[in-house]
């Protein structure tokens, strides 16, 4: 009754092609942004900003990056954390070595650097696909982290490659409190997410999806494979790079290369599998799910164990966490390969017919 497009006529091409063609969606997204920008900063506490909201947005951005590559262009990558590391270290070095560069330019530079590295490791994607490519991206994962640890130039000769991010200053204003950092991260993520949404419905996005569904057929209808795949690698790495820069500058403050481990790459991959591959919304849902699940288990498991009087240790919690992650991945791939985003879509379909399903 509330959610339907009946009566919303599109009288121009532009109206038909807009980002959110249904009016309720437009209102919804505006409401969502309004809540995120206006309400949350007023009500949320320090803990919420620095432990949940900021990492959620950053990982959602990284997941978005991986989703562009894996969900839209169909190229599996196990090295997204390494591209985040490239972004973090690039932003640090831009701030350190370029006199007076504005921080936003550093972030863009970080994204571009990561994009360059991404193209480099994406080059083999023309020859190879599927799990072969996964191995190529594993090479990126291990090689990049090793490079950042061993070449002292990247971390300005600090011990074991640890960097401390510089202050975030924009137009003379220092972003110091978690609330300000949250707003900064939120603005960047919102802009990039809308850009991704826009890209996904453009000819670029359609070319990616064609390559994903069947690359030989895509080639036959005139999509040039190499530029398309490399663009996917570049855009994906750009997103991951910006996410990495934000991770260092707005979340942790000081990072080391080993922090961007294979485990983190897997976690980002799990986000898009659970959230939904080939969906912008899915990246956000998946990031929220994967970040909140450990917190939930941390609280629920000791309580459950207490209920049944079982012995309990912290090691068990972490084992159960890994086990639940694995089980969920298999569950989602079997039951709902399109993830949480698909469930949301089904909900919307139902809502469209409600209250008179036929």
């Amino acid at each position: 009754m509330l959610y339907r497009e009946a009566g919303q006529f599109k009288s121009s091409y532009a109206a038909d092609q807009q980002l959110f063609p249904i009016r309720q969606d437009r209102i919804g997204i505006i409401l969502l942004l309004a809540v995120a920008f206006l309400v949350i900063p007023l009500v949320a506490g320090e803990y919420w900003f620095s432990a949940i909201l900021i990492p959620f947005l950053i990982f959602a951005l990284a997941a978005l990056g991986l989703n562009i590559l894996t969900g839209y262009a169909g190229q599996l990558s196990l090295g997204s954390a390494a591209f985040m590391a490239v972004g973090a270290y690039a932003a640090y070095n831009f701030q350190l070595r370029v006199e007076g560069i504005p921080i936003l330019f550093s972030f863009i530079g970080a994204g571009l650097t990561a994009a360059g590295v991404g193209i480099l490791f994406g080059l083999p994607s023309l020859w190879i696909k599927g799990f072969y490519l996964a191995v190529a991206t594993l090479a990126a994962q291990f090689f990049i982290v090793w490079c950042l640890t061993k070449f002292p130039w990247f971390s300005n000769h600090s011990s074991s490659g640890v960097i401390s991010a510089q202050k975030v200053v924009i137009l003379g204003h220092v972003f110091a409190s978690p609330r300000e950092k949250y707003l900064l991260v939120l603005s960047i993520v919102a802009v990039l997410a809308l850009a991704a949404k826009n890209m996904a419905r453009s000819s670029t996005g359609r070319a990616w999806m064609a390559v994903r569904d069947m690359d030989v057929a895509a080639e036959v209808i005139g999509i040039r494979l190499l530029p398309t795949k490399l663009l996917a690698f570049a855009v994906s790495s750009f997103y991951c790079g910006v996410a990495g820069a934000l991770y260092a500058f707005c979340y942790l403050g000081s990072v080391e290369p080993d922090g961007f481990s294979l485990d983190m790459s897997f976690r980002i991959l799990f986000m898009i599998i659970i959230g939904g591959m080939g969906s912008i919304l899915g990246s956000f849902l998946g990031a929220a799910f994967i970040l909140l699940l450990p917190i939930f288990l941390d609280i629920a498991l000791p309580w459950l164990a207490g209920l049944f009087g079982l012995p309990f240790s912290n090691a068990t919690v972490s084992h159960i966490q890994i086990l639940v992650f694995g089980a969920l991945i298999m569950f989602f791939l079997i039951v709902e390969p399109h993830g949480l985003a698909r469930l949301w879509q089904i909900g919307k379909e139902k809502l469209r017919l409600w209250p008179f399903p036929h």
């Binding site: 169909g74 599996l76 083999p124 020859w127 190879i128 599927g130 799990f131 072969y132 996964a134 191995v135 190529a136 594993l138 090479a139 291990f142 090689f143 090793w146 640890t149 061993k150 070449f151 002292p152 069947m214 030989v216 057929a217 036959v220 897997f266 991959l269 599998i273 090691a315 068990t316 084992h319 159960i320 966490q321 890994i322 086990l323 639940v324 992650f325 694995g326 089980a327 969920l328 991945i329 298999m330 791939l333 079997i334 390969p337």
Partner: protein, 304 residues
């Protein structure tokens, strides 16, 4: 020169261990077209199961038998509850499902059998062979040699099994063409269960050798990841490829670890240890550019 030979031989011998893990990958990939990322986790599970059973007081032979039973049951369960439900999905989805499976095992195994690193004693000592040490001045470990011998026996047995038994023939038929195999009445599901059982057995052997050498610990799963570049070099579908690939990876990573850091140090300054961590992957990456199907793999032809 002697030092070079020593490094080369110890590299080759440790490569045998990679081959063993890679072998499990190849078996499953050939028979079901699934790239089983969880093979490394299965090696970990097998080693933990042996150690866990021995801690409960079982003698080695019983522990091995029990572990084999666990691996077989586990393989059958995987086939039944995960892979069978994913029939007709794109290979990439299957691959990701096995990543999930790997995490599942990595969480479950230490919960059941305990997570602290433990030594596994299988009765072979890791010490240099004296005759070679005295005569040639080279350190060659008895253990490595024994591992190589076990691997050779295992591969020969598998080859004979595939070549001459009824089940082996059926396995090869399935590997060749699923549909054709089905149409002449080969029960696909049984075959897959058997393959997972055999892969579990290979994982058990690999897990015991690795565990006896480096202790049974979580790091086993990372070492097992090195089987991936082995497969790329050897080809995904070839048993000899897995062996040769393993030898190449083992030897080249040891040589790189010994000789490259010094070279890089003189060029850039600083300390460049730990090349072993990425060298196999980059080598495999380079290999992909030249020969994507691997040394012994079948050439892949796409049809529209």
């Amino acid at each position: 020169m002697r030092f070079f030979l020593e490094v080369l031989i110890s590299g080759l011998l440790s490569g045998v261990m990679y081959s063993l893990v890679a072998l499990g990958f190849v078996l499953i990939y050939k028979a079901s077209g699934v790239f089983n990322f969880a093979q490394g986790a299965m090696v970990y599970l097998a080693a933990l199961a042996v150690v866990g059973c021995m801690e409960k007081g079982a003698p080695l032979w019983l522990a091995v038998l029990l572990a084999f039973g666990i691996m077989t049951l586990f393989g059958i369960a995987t086939e039944k509850f995960v892979l069978r439900k994913l029939v007709n999905q794109p290979p990439i989805a299957l691959f990701m499902a096995t990543i999930g499976l790997a995490f599942f095992i990595e969480g479950l195994a230490p919960m059941v059998f305990g997570s602290d690193p433990r030594a596994l004693d299988i009765g072979i000592v890791d010490e240099p062979i004296e005759a070679i040490l005295n005569g040639w001045g080279m350190v060659i470990s008895k253990f490595d040699l024994a591992a190589a011998a076990i691997a050779a026996v295992l591969v020969t047995t598998l080859a004979l099994f595939f070549q001459y038994t009824r089940i082996g023939r059926a396995l090869r038929a399935v590997a060749d063409d699923h549909q054709a195999a089905l149409s002449i009445g080969i029960p696909l599901q049984h075959i897959w269960a058997i393959v997972w059982g055999v892969a579990g057995f290979v994982a058990l052997v690999a897990g015991m050798l690795w565990g006896a050498r480096n202790g049974v610990q979580f790091a086993l799963t990372f070492t097992a990841l090195k089987a991936l570049p082995v497969l790329i070099i050897g080809g995904f579908t070839s048993v000899p490829g897995a062996i040769v690939g393993g030898l190449i990876i083992g030897a080249s990573e040891k040589l790189a670890e010994i000789y490259l850091p010094a070279l890089m140090q003189s060029a850039f300054g600083g300390n460049f240890g730990g090349i072993e961590g990425w060298f196999p992957y980059v080598l495999a990456l380079g290999f992909l550019l030249v020969r994507p199907e691997g040394l012994f793999g079948e050439k892949h032809i796409d049809r529209v």
